[in-house]
Amino acid sequence: MNGLDQIFVGTGHWIAGLFPVYVQPLISAALEIAIMMAVFGGCFALTSVVERKLLGRMQNRYGPNRVGPFGLLQPLADGIKMLTKEDIVPFSADKTVHFLAPLALSVPIWLAFAVLPFGRNMSAIDLDAGILFFFAIGSASELAVFMAGWSSQNKYSLVGAMRAIAQMISYEVPLVLSTVPVLMLAGSLSLNEIVAAQGTYTLGGLARWNVFTPWGLAGLLLFLIAATAESNRSPFDLPEGESEIIAGFLTEYSGFKYALFFLSEYLGLFAITGLAVTLFLGGWHAPFRWLEWVPSWLWFAGKFCALIFLFVWIRATLPRLRLDQLLNFSWRFLVPLSLINILVAVAWYWSGSWKSPVALPVRWVLCAALVALPYHWLAQSLRGTLPPPRKYTYAE
């Protein structure tokens, strides 16, 4: 078990060992960066074609299957197409800011992977304030989106940029608030400690992941909703609402700059999914005690792919929200609900000391009610008084 699990860490140490001592930290850092860029760059290429195939299958068609076996060389074809496409910069655009925007968006996103624990002691840096680092990096993307939208000097891209900023700011609050219960009960901001807190197993062998607690489940749903909005994906893809404002802040970009935006959107999605797996789904821990022999990084990859499938599934089904509904949804539904979720976490922690055998189901029912009732009232207030159900008269 240990060999296969530590295979990457072992080879890393072995390669670093080949070099003189004083340059070893530099080499191992460079190695980690290279591996991370290779893995997540490849993951981006794979996801762009797998997403189109999954969307196709959900829409009764095949999805790309012409380039390479099962269409797996499609990202190569897309990449070459993006590189050979002419990079048109509009005449009235602000050249420097127009050029800097894709860089300002895609460079910080790579940093976010430094802090995620992909497997047992396989996280690049073990920061004491890991989550704060993650959200600091995440907040830099708003400025880059504004630069893209404003510098294109195009009405649609300006509208798109304004929408993007309003959406990202108002969805960062529930994103951060939904992680607060996890930090409270894990007692630390460092991601490794959070994963360690979810490491123990109950009597029945089931892992103590946060998602198996009422506040964990509610927190995961809130986190995923806010994450879809933060990475501009389907029900919240207003910034590039194709059917309304053509491509939003991406309208005036073509060629490789467009590919950079595309890359940074997917990397943002990977980073947020990695964080969701770490916080709520027990990072690289196995779900059951007797499954511990499977290597830890395989568990992380499995949960990661499951969440990516969920994002694609949502994208295939849901229409888009309007801007005012989007903001109402965040401020009048997600933020209060995530605050209540913190109270539920407190209630769960406080009732942890009950000794009676029937404590667990009672606590579950109590906390679940504590979340479900406000959910119903908030949804009620969000929708306003429920309009009478539509009745359609029939004339003979």
Partner: protein, 172 residues
């Protein structure tokens, strides 16, 4: 050796951003350079391994304050009006005032007792300790700060709300 180079780099980035924020003609460029200066400042905090302060600075300033500045520029339509020459006509009065401010700043720093040449100890304050101190020792400033911010928030909302009501009372 590596440390000095890194510090010089961060400091030059911050200074360059600040000067550019002053000198550039296009207001949006100034705002973006200001954001660059904030990022440089965060880099310096990280360089001194004050992680919590560095990330908080980056999150708050580059994430929120820079966007605030940019919004204010756009909403007051400063973005498209090209301002005149950067310097003002009577520049020597400006120099005089700047000299005075510099003098009293330097004076107060030099005379303060705290400037004893101590070796710069590594402020490895883990988040845990910061959290405890915030909740125990500095609970009062934290609460008043929270109260102040909420009041500012409500004031902003009230001002924004009244304006559309006045503009077209019958439409909404």
């Amino acid at each position: 050796m590596l440390n000095e180079i890194a510090f010089l780099l961060c400091a030059s980035l911050t200074l360059a951003g600040a000067v550019a924020a002053m000198m550039l003609r296009n207001l949006v460029h100034c705002a973006l350079c200001a954001a660059g200066a904030f990022a440089g400042l965060a880099a310096i905090y990280l360089q001194l391994s004050a992680e919590f302060a560095g990330f908080a600075q980056f999150l708050v300033y580059v994430g929120a304050v820079a966007i605030l500045i940019v919004f204010t520029i756009l909403l007051t339509r400063g973005a498209d009006i090209q301002t005149g020459r950067a310097g003002s006509s009577s520049s020597w009065i400006g120099l005089l005032v700047a000299g005075l401010v510099l003098a009293c700043l330097v004076g107060s720093i030099m005379s303060s007792p705290g400037l004893v040449r101590l070796p710069a100890q590594t402020a490895n304050a883990p988040v845990q300790k910061i959290g405890e101190q915030l909740m125990n020792q500095y609970i009062m400033p934290l609460e008043t700060m929270g109260l102040l911010l909420t009041a500012a928030l409500l004031g902003g909302v009230v001002i924004a709300m009244r304006e559309p009501a006045k503009a077209n009372p019958s439409a909404r």
